[in-house]
Amino acid sequence: MLSRSFKSLVQIQRPVLMAGQSSMIRSFSSDHRLSEKEVTDRILEVISKYDKCAGKSVSPSDTFKELELDSLDSADILVAVEEEFGIEIPDEEVDRITSVKDTISYIRKTPTAK
């Protein structure tokens, strides 16, 4: 009898602390990676802001070569993407990235991108 009343007391008090805040708490087990659409939009925005791409329509299927960008331009764009997502792309990965699609898929599989 005593233990039951004690338990009910605790049960009443505990949820009060958290009430109304549940939506603001992010569970670390949840999938917090960026959605494909968001990543695509942000990368396309970064690329279309680049001088040599101004006025061109950039689509996710384009390679850097199709956009008439040389190796220095693609390095420029990748550094801009790094700044946008707050990450640093390692050198061996940079060699593999040759298109907009590659960039999107790299950002998608990088958990620290924000």
Binding site: L72, A75, L78, V79, E82, D91, D95
Partner: protein
């Protein structure tokens, strides 16, 4: 003095690239590192340039050597660039060094006119 010694000790050795593509990759790596360190350099040396202006200046520096196809020359240029960048971000330079670099404009190599070219060939034979 001690910081100087430390910097000299941690300098990378003069790497010899195995092939031309490797040397070119090394240059691209240097280019990315240079772009990444632009905000740091602005902060360290209290510069008042635009970030895009500085990036353009660095780019002009790299484009100047874009037609090099000799591996050893490319290695040498890359080594000089790496050392300069290392000095800049390790505060081994003074502000005037960095300002001089960004003030200096790179002029493309002068194209010889037909007459000058002819004369040059003529004198080369003598």
């Amino acid at each position: 003095m001690s910081s100087n010694l430390l910097a000299i000790k941690t300098l990378r050795p003069a790497i010899v690239s195995a092939s031309l593509p490797v040397a070119q990759k090394r240059c691209l790596k240097l280019y990315r590192n240079a772009l990444r360190s632009v905000p740091v350099i602005i902060q360290y040396y209290n510069l008042s340039y635009n970030v895009s202006e500085m990036k353009q200046r660095i780019r002009a520096d790299f484009e100047q050597y874009s037609n090099i196809t000799d591996k050893t020359i490319l290695d040498r240029v890359a080594f000089i660039g790496e050392t300069e960048l290392f000095d800049a971000v390790s505060l081994l330079k003074t502000r005037s060094h960095v300002v001089n670099y960004f003030e200096e404009q790179i002029t493309p190599a002068k194209q010889l006119s037909e007459g000058e070219d002819l004369l040059k060939k003529f004198f080369a034979k003598i």
